[in-house]
Each structure stands twice: as C-alpha cells, then as structure tokens.
Symmetry: C2
Subunit: 434 residues, 2 copies
Amino acid sequence: MSARAAIIVTGTEVLGGRVSDRNGPWLSEQLAQLGVEVAQITVVGDRPQDMRAALDWCAALRVDLVVTSGGLGPTEDDLTARVVGEFAGRSMVLDEALEERIAAILRPLRARWPHLSEEAIMASNRKQAVVPEGATILEPVGTAPGLVVAPLETGAGPTVVVLPGPPSELRALWAAAIETTAFSAAVAGRTVYDERMLRLYGLPESEIAETLRIADATGVPMERLEVTTCLRRGEIEIVTRFEAPDASAYDAFAAVVRSRHGEMLFSEDFRRVDDQVAEMLVEQRLTVAVAESCTGGLLAGRLSERPGSSEYLRGGIVAYSNEIKESLVGVDHQLLAEHGAVSGEVALALADGARERLGATIGVGVTGVAGPGGGTAAKPVGTVWVAVSSSAGRSIVRHTMLRGSRAEVRERTTTVALHLLRRLLLGEDDAPSA
Amino acid sequence: MSARAAIIVTGTEVLGGRVSDRNGPWLSEQLAQLGVEVAQITVVGDRPQDMRAALDWCAALRVDLVVTSGGLGPTEDDLTARVVGEFAGRSMVLDEALEERIAAILRPLRARWPHLSEEAIMASNRKQAVVPEGATILEPVGTAPGLVVAPLETGAGPTVVVLPGPPSELRALWAAAIETTAFSAAVAGRTVYDERMLRLYGLPESEIAETLRIADATGVPMERLEVTTCLRRGEIEIVTRFEAPDASAYDAFAAVVRSRHGEMLFSEDFRRVDDQVAEMLVEQRLTVAVAESCTGGLLAGRLSERPGSSEYLRGGIVAYSNEIKESLVGVDHQLLAEHGAVSGEVALALADGARERLGATIGVGVTGVAGPGGGTAAKPVGTVWVAVSSSAGRSIVRHTMLRGSRAEVRERTTTVALHLLRRLLLGEDDAPSA
C-alpha cells in the first residue's frame, strides 16, 4: 500500500479562472516522482472556512500527506498557518528566533513599502512568526516561512506541508520540506517508482492505443506498468512508472514500441527535440538561421529559448509579406508568382535565403496558412510547408496538414520544423511524411 | 444568497501534472459571469470511486450545481454518466433515438478506427447512449453527448452538468447546457453581476493595494465591490464584480483609480494592449516591422498572433548576432563598438533599420540581457532597451530592468515593446519609465 497525498491550492484569483494554477500540477509531478500517489488536487478560495473544509475532506479521504500552496502573503498572513494549526490540534506560538530572521530579511526591502509604517511592517512580520507549536519550520526564501505540521498524535490525521504561493518560493521550500524528518515519517509507506519517457513524432495517438493492445496480447505484463500517454505540441509522450522489480516488463514494452514505431520514436531519455537539435548543432559546430512566414517569429523564439542559444542561432527573418520574402530573403519573384507563397519551392527558397543572408550553415524555411482566414480549396487552412537546407547542399522539404486553431497550427509548425532540422542533423535527406 | 457551484475535473494525466487543466478555470469564469459563486475546483483521477467521493463531498458542501469535465471518452465511455446517475438516484436507460444519432455521427468517421470491428464500434456507441433516466441530453459535438442530471427529488442534492473533456466540445456543450430548464432551475438563486476590468501598466502591484485603501478611506463603499487584482505579463488587471444597484460604487472606485494612476490606466473595456495597437495601426493605415535581439522572435510572434495581422505587420528580423545587426538591419559597426549591443543607441538603430529595411512606417528595436548568463555589473541580467521610431521622424527609447527567469524577461520585454508602440501611435514622444 503506497503513501497517498492531496494538494490544496488556495487563491480566489485561481478559483475565479483568471490565473491558471502552476503549483498543483508541479507538486503533483514531484509527489509522483517520490512514489507518493496523488488522490486529488483541490482549488479553494482564500477564506479560512474553505481551507478548513478542504482539510477535513482530505482527512476523510485518509491521505497520509496534504500539501497546501498559498495563503501566506502579506494581506492574509496567518490564514493558512492558523487553520492548519487548528486542524492539527496544535496551539499557535510566537517563534522569536524566526521573528528575528524574518525581520533581517525585511530590513533591506524596507524601501519597497514606503506607504507602510515601521510598526505595520513589524506587526505583519510578527504574525508570520506565529506558528503551530512543534511544527518544523522551513526557512523563508521570500519573506514567508513554510511549515511541516504533523498531527498531535501519530496517525491521527495527515501531515500538512504549508508552502507559499509564488512558484519560485514554493519550489525552493518544497526542496527543504522533503528533507525533514516529519515529511519522511508521513510518507514512510511510499512506493519507489522508476519513471521513463518515450517521445514519438509523426503518428496519430490512436496508433499508441493499438501498440498497448499488441504489447498486452504478445505477453508483456502490462498490468505491472502504469502507462500514461499524452499529446503535446504535435508529439506523443508515453510516460511509464513501475517498481524496480518490474524493470524487465518495461524493457519488453519499450521493445514493442521500438519495433512497431522505429524512427518515429525519437527520445527515450526525457530529452526534447529542442535539446537534441541544440546538442547536435553544438557538437557539429553548425549554425542555424530561419526565414518564417506563418509562424511569424515563433520558430526563432523557440530556437532561442535555451540559455546559450546564441552559440548556434544566427537569427531569423520574419517574412510576413511577399515583398520581404523577395527583398530580404532573396526569394525569386518568378518562383512566388508561379507556385504561390505557400509551396515547397518557396519554403526551400526561404531556407536557402535565410542560410545565405544570415551566414549560417543551416537554413530553415516555413510557410503556411495558419488561418482562420486565407485558406483556399487547393491550400486550405492548416497547409504548411517546411524546408531545411545546408551549405553542404543537402535539403529536406516537407508538406503537412495541421488541424486546430491559428495558435495551434502556428505552434505545431514549429515542432514540424524542429523535427526536420533533427533529421538533417542526423544525416538524413528524406523521411516519411508526418 | 447566491447560487453556488463546484467543478470536478477528471483525468489521470491532469492529476499527474503532465497536462495542465484548461477546463476548470474556463468553467469557473463562465459560472462567475453567470453570477454563480464557485466554491471549489477538484481534480480527481479517472476512477469511479474517486468521482463518486468528489460528488459526495460537493453534496456535503451543499452546492446547487456541479459541473464535471471528462470521463466520456471512448476508453472509459460510461464512467461519469453511470456514477452521476447513481449519485442522483436515477437508473440507467438506453436512449434508442440518441443511439441512432451517435451512430450517424460515427459512420463517416469509420476510417479513423481501421483496427476496430464494426461490432466494437457499435458497442461503444450503445454505451454512450445509456443515460440516467430523465436526464436532459446535450447533443454531441464530437461523439459524446453531455448531460444535465437533476436529483430525483428537488433539493435533495446538486444538479450535475456532465461535459466531455476536450475543450472545444466542452465549450460547445456548455453553451447548450445553460439553455436547459434543468440548469435554470438549479441556479435560480444566482445573483446577476456586472464585471469590469481596468488594465494598468508601469506601476508596481503594491500601488494598487494602496489605491484600494485610499478608495475605502475616502468613502467609496468598497464592501459592495468584489475586486481581484492580478499581474499578467507585466501588466496589472483589476477585475471588479458588482450587482446592478452598486454601479455607482464601481464608478466612484474607477474614478479613484483614474485620478491616482492617470495614464498608467490604459484599458477600461477588456481590450488588451495588443488589440489597441492592432486597431490603431489599421485605423491610421500604418505598418510595423521589428528587429529584435533578446526576445528572439517572440515580439514578431506576438504581433502576428491576431488573424489578419498581415494587414499591418510587414515582418521582422531576429538579429541574434552583432554581424546580423550590422549586415541585415544596418546598425553602424562603430555604434555597436562604442555603446555595446545592449544600449539605447543600438535599440534605436534597430528600430530605424527594421523600418527602413522592411519598408514599414514604424520600426521597433529590442535588445537586452535575458539571462541567466551574459550579465555584467553595468548591464545585469534583466537589462532591456526598447525603441520605436516612425518614418515621420518621431521616436521613443526606453530603458527598463525586468526581474524573473529567462522566459519571463523575454515575455515581459514584448509587453514593454507593445506599450511603447501604443504610446507612439497615440502621438506621444516620451513617457514615464516602466
């Protein structure tokens, strides 16, 4: 029997749907990696009674651990700490040493609150140092300390980890929380899982459902594996969790995926196509430049996401109009007139032009109809042409039809381009169409 | 007393943190706009007992309405419908007319499932047509119907709206759900709210807290207004909900914000700065081109987000290296040597160069240190220079220091650029620094 946890996210603005919660999913992933099963994530408003009701429900679900996010800010300082203290049956006490440490953090920040009197700041400071008696304190990274609060009697209820809402603070305090004795005791029953990821590109998700059936039918003990598949930016991710003795079951499953999907399987080690492309560019001492139309800068934006990308990214041209395709990228006027801007010929001319004009060893050209307008019978919305070409004279041109909204078509086009770039870097001049 | 609702999102992949939930926040916003208070959002796994436990808790919270998302897919067809039927005390019955309508939807899609026998498809079809007796059926947009399930006895528990997980299907069926008699009856007690939004740029969030205090202190009946503020991409959004008789309280509050923040307040009608810039460009028949360094294409990407943006966006140059700043944008070598790439002089030269080289009436230049590396004592990570210039000889150059991760600095820089563009389009040649 594995340890189980629940996550409570507080925040009226999250509940109202205007801010999307990043902490719940992040905590959930961390807990899963530790082998703690997450029973649920609940979002409640910033009111003490809502928080208390959520805690009571977690107790009813008999989880071993509850992790809370938020409710420690300057305007609602003591809400979560106090409610959790009551829930655990512990009285609230002032920790004077903590009060002094918080004061030391606040002093240099004094200029941030010119409207507040010294007194008001110190009162808020003191409130944050009032904690449930016997709680383990997690030293503040911002100004709010975190807490690990065990029930007064062992086994009388879940242990509660109280974390601040700002994601960077939450993550830092989480790292401290899992090192505490109180945390270890609460999740003593956890199962240790291994997690692996297979990334595939260029096949429909339904194929994976069929692969799972085939693996099962050919004797792979699939019941020992927890397999989750999801589509992300036009790729398929298969995440598998298993206990150490079941590693051979996973190996057998991975072998089925490999044999059925061959080169569609591009990553078995958590590396994204972005990472693979960046690493190959650096290793091969190559540089890249892009000329993009429908993606309007998003491909260059994606290629410059990683720190240090200036080592291989020369730059790009967003050739939104035909004049710029001609004047800046050097696409032939006749070519545009003959084939239209959305064509394989123009995609290749964009790749060649980007490479030459920006002095890179590899060029990428992107053109397409992102929609919602601009589609024709011959070139409907979602028609995309991508080309890559190298100064060594190699090239690949790919046509694809993408479904979805304008934003989705634009985003998935960047994935198509990265995979084409990957193929070129692997030394392939052609590949099955996506 | 207002009507209250809870939202239950099912999905193991959402609970596992790998897929972020878009339905919960969206439904929450819809409910708020209808005047239904959302008590909580819960994410549970795809298991019947988890769904049932969540429904039971919603009943204990005495909400009037529960909205569920997911659990209607082909692999877990009947999970949600059956659990909700049991919860409402209704037996499950086959709706033959519905079965025929679903079959009619599936027939043309037959080619999608070449692996499945006709029989298997029809069995899954039939399962989806088995619904709680007396439930209101929402006609499928994909292949799964939605449901509105009232309790067997009025007032014996919440009415449950069952919706499919794919966001586009969920949104379409939601529109149908709120038109049903069963829905209206469940939320009869709802309060009708007005919602307004004030968007501000160029001031710290703490200023807004102070403004709220001042409004209160000067006699604005703030207790009649529900005010939520949040930071988004470097802007502040103040959303206020109020009942019709309290419109004058809102007007008084908005007047305080206007008088205290003047030109920092840039939108009172839900329009984003992106919308304002696009509309002014179209109205004034102007075109824009960008030359960007640290944002690496994201500014052009943002300017091309809106359908029809080719009307005003000429294109852009991602000048990641100094050579490209010189060769493609025409930045003077001497200028780069003298001031460095991250300087106001170079930002302006990038704006001028983009405008001239891409044949636009307005140019935008962006340069900065996005980090995490590359910072110096004089130009630390987060240093950003943005410039806009027009063919009429007007220009604005702005220096700003942004905090946060590489991704945050890059994203916020695009916001700085859009606001500078807005000022130029409004006919301003200078503005207070952000």
